[in-house]
Amino acid sequence: MIATNIRRLAVYLLLAFAATSGGLSWWQVVDASTLAARQDNPEVIAARRSALRGTIFDANGQVLASSQVIDGISRRTYTDAAFSHIIGYASLRFGTTGVERAWDDLLTGRSDPNPLRDLVNDILARQPPPTDLTLTIDRRLQDYAAAQLGTDVGVVVALDPRSGAILAMTSTPTFDPTPISGDPATAAGPMEQIGAQPNNPLVDRARQGRYTPGSIMKVLTASAALDSGAMTPETTFPDQPREETEGFVVEGFRVLEHDLSPVTPALWPFSPALQVSSNIFFAHVGVELGSERFLDYAKRFGFCEPLVIGPSDRGLSVSPSYVTAVAEDGGCAPFADTAEVAQAAFGQGRVNVTPVQMALLAATVANDGITPAPYVVRDVRAHADDPAAGPSERVLTTYRAEGSRRAIGSGAAAQVRAAMVDAVHGELGRLYAGAGDVTRYGVSGVSTAGKTGTAERGPDLPPHSWYIGFVPAQAGGTPAIAVAVIVEGGGSGSGRAAPIGGAVMAEWLKILAAG
């Protein structure tokens, strides 16, 4: 009897050791690469100190960040402050951010893009060489966008609506990451200086900035209403002309129109309502759509959860955008009442968005209703010994958009697109978003789709100036670029953001035409 029990005990103990061995294998092999990428891992710190770091190139092979080992300490030089937020910094003292952080293991050569070679390196205890990265961003467009923002505080995000490739992404004010990425002994001073400047230059406003969108949100409201059938392009609201002056009362809350002059209110269907940006019309649309459908469509566009500039396994995170209050789990809470839906429909109330999310909204309309998955690193290459001579020809990994998903049908997308073209070129729209028309910036024969936004922040603060748009937008044209522009406290959308958006898109068309 005891013998039988001992035999059983032996089996149980063996099982316990087997489970332990399973745990051992998990940490040593399966999860090892995740552990190896963590910032506070002593291996990461030690490797970074002396290891040569890979070069980061722009889309045309221009050097944006490169390293040299001087006196046993790896020093990094950044050539263009317009890239400081997206590339980030690799500091021995302050850790890494941006692309430097997400691709840290490849840049330092701690792991190899090829899993098989990774294993061989591990067996031979061989330190693989660092690898270089090429971004999807063209430095010419990035610098142009940064120059357009000038000394204003704001963001330009531009992407290819079909591929999801980021074409420009810059945030002002910016900073010089070179001094904080050099000798750790002298890095503290420059970091303190950056921190002491107004408007916190370290914040990447494109990904982390959250703003009230104002009227650019009407593009989302219209997309949802047209796609769900809550509205057609011909729908009108009989009380709307009267309410333009008296206000539209929803559950005791009075929705008021912005200053429409010199336009005289009339019974407007969708296109003219978008051209003059009628708050009353879109409040009605929001009420027709209802709180559940509104929330559902917002989520389809990517709201209510963090976005990732891919690939998903080593992406750059983008703060979530919200249409309602923030729920306990970090998602969107339900709408409190219909009055809140009515306000959200024209981009006020509790709506809170990132510039990246708004660029994706424009890109979705441009891309027949499919939201492209954004990405910013085009490929990983073998390390080039002389970065100035351009990147290596040996491409190890190429990235492309993964996980693009349909937000609305192509029919609804075409209707929204037509109205956005009217908003720039139409008789009424020209008065507001005409400054976003690329033909004003030296490009001809192209229609622009756009929408301005003037985000009210309260009685004593100047509104944020917004613009989203894409070109070419004429029927049958294939959009090449979609943008979102915000200038903090920049006043009306037509005054500040629309000219920047139009100029940036025109510049890209010129770059493309020049080949």
Binding site: I2, L13, A16, G23, W27, Q28, L35, R38, D40, E43
Partner: protein, 434 residues
């Protein structure tokens, strides 16, 4: 069986020396030679004395101990030296000294213990002595790293818990062996639930109380878990009832939950276990650094002397004791760690074989308890550093640095040798026609 060892230890020392100094050389080869002579000598003594005990136990222990010694020699430059008798000793040297003491004690028990009456008949005396030891530890013990484990007699400190473990096994073995035949089928019922009969229930509760006292006053979770685990395992072997183990485990979980709510030091350990990455530089520091070490090791390891855990952590402590398995896995890789675990499993299986071949219930129960104490202790510390269970301060038998642990573990092996020797003699007597 000891022959591979002759290669293993010097090789380990040479590799470490080359890795740490970058020069060809042998390192402290004297240590390796003394260790080999010690183990070969012990083997020779057993053979010469005509000892019939299990022939694999000593080689297995010697191999596991050799890996431990190689690791301690590798760690020696990174750790403070201990001073005694006016001389400075590295951790490896100190450990070797304790190996000598341990092997001596093992031989003494293996050869000198001809009769188990001393253990069997004075079980209550042993139990009382053990309880006194526990109380003395609580009252006069010194707290180290948050747990009250140490008693100092003048300059020499020792951990009573290590020896208490053996006393506990002896007592439970004697108690269960005596009651087993009487109680095989007895059981009590409360409604539909069958509960263990009182003679099982009472000691179960008594040991549960002792264990909880260890947790509360000794702040020593590892020892508490080990004690209770040993008891439940022996109860299972004696009765064959899984339900008793289940009830015991539930009791333990309930007790642990209460302790988690009531005591800070328990709550800290559990929080650090659930999500060490939530506070990687605070309560989670040790666990996180240890997991990093496993990750760095990978399949084949960084190589002896190449690991970062002993130095890169900065304020990381316990590389020579609780975390020696993490250091081993980092430097020798999954392959080396598996080898170490496989050796431990082999040792346990030999121990259980001794129990199977034992001629009487007491010897069998004693062998089971002793083997389980080694097995569970290994499991608890390995699973702890792997974050499979909350991390508790406890040593890896024969590998971790520590005199009390080493001496106690060698006593366990000595007892196993003695049991297997007697059963082998008895088997021969039966086989011989009279």
């Amino acid at each position: 069986m000891l022959l591979p060892l002759v290669l293993l230890v010097p090789l380990g020392f040479v590799v470490t020396h080359i890795a740490q100094t970058g020069e060809a050389g042998t390192g402290p080869m004297g240590l390796a030679i003394v260790y080999l002579l010690l183990m070969l000598g012990a083997h020779a003594v057993l053979v010469a004395a005509g000892h019939r005990g299990d022939p694999l136990l000593l080689p297995l222990v010697a191999t596991i101990g050799a890996i431990g010694l190689i690791m301690l020699n590798r760690l020696a430059p990174d750790l403070e030296e201990t001073a005694a008798f006016g001389l400075d000793f590295t951790v490896a040297e100190t450990q070797l000294l304790w190996f000598a003491v341990g092997v001596g004690a093992m031989l003494g028990v293996a050869l000198g213990f001809r009769n188990d009456g001393l253990l069997r008949h004075y079980k209550y005396t042993w139990a009382i002595a053990g309880a006194l030891l526990l109380v003395v530890t609580f009252l006069f013990g010194r707290e180290v790293n948050g747990a009250r484990l140490w008693i100092y007699l003048g300059p020499i400190g020792f951990q009573p818990g290590e020896f208490l473990k053996i006393v506990l096994v002896v007592f439970i073995a004697a108690y269960l062996a005596e009651k087993r035949t009487l109680l095989r089928d007895a059981s009590a019922r409360i409604g539909p639930i069958r509960i263990p009969p009182l003679p099982y229930l009472l000691p179960m509760l008594a040991i549960f109380v002792i264990v909880m006292l260890v947790v509360i006053f000794g702040k020593d979770l590892g020892t508490a878990l080990l004690f209770f685990g040993i008891f439940l395992t022996m109860l299972f072997v004696a009765t064959g009832r899984r339900s008793y183990v289940l009830i015991g485990l539930l009791l333990f979980l309930a007790g642990s939950f209460v302790a988690y709510r009531l005591f800070d030091h328990v709550a800290r350990r559990v929080d650090a276990w659930i999500d060490p990455f939530a506070d990687p530089s605070g309560v989670g520091y040790q666990t996180v650094q240890s997991l990093y070490a496993f990750g760095r090791g990978g399949l084949f390891g960084e190589g002896l002397g190449q690991g970062l855990l002993p130095t890169a952590g900065g304020r990381f402590f316990g590389v020579e004791t609780d975390f020696i398995f993490a250091v081993t896995a980092e430097e020798l890789g999954l392959i080396g760690a598996f080898a170490l675990l496989a050796l431990a499993v082999a040792l346990i299986f030999r121990g259980l074989r001794v129990a199977m071949l034992a001629r009487d219930d007491f010897s069998a129960m004693l062998a089971v308890g002793l083997t389980t104490s080694l097995g569970l202790q290994t499991l608890i510390i390995v699973a702890g550093v792997l974050k499979l269970i909350p991390l508790t301060g406890i040593t890896f038998p024969f590998v971790s640095y520590g005199g009390s642990s080493l001496l106690a573990s060698f006593l366990v092996v000595g007892l196993l040798l003695s049991i297997s020797h007697r059963s082998a003699l008895a088997a021969e007597r039966e086989a011989r026609p009279t």
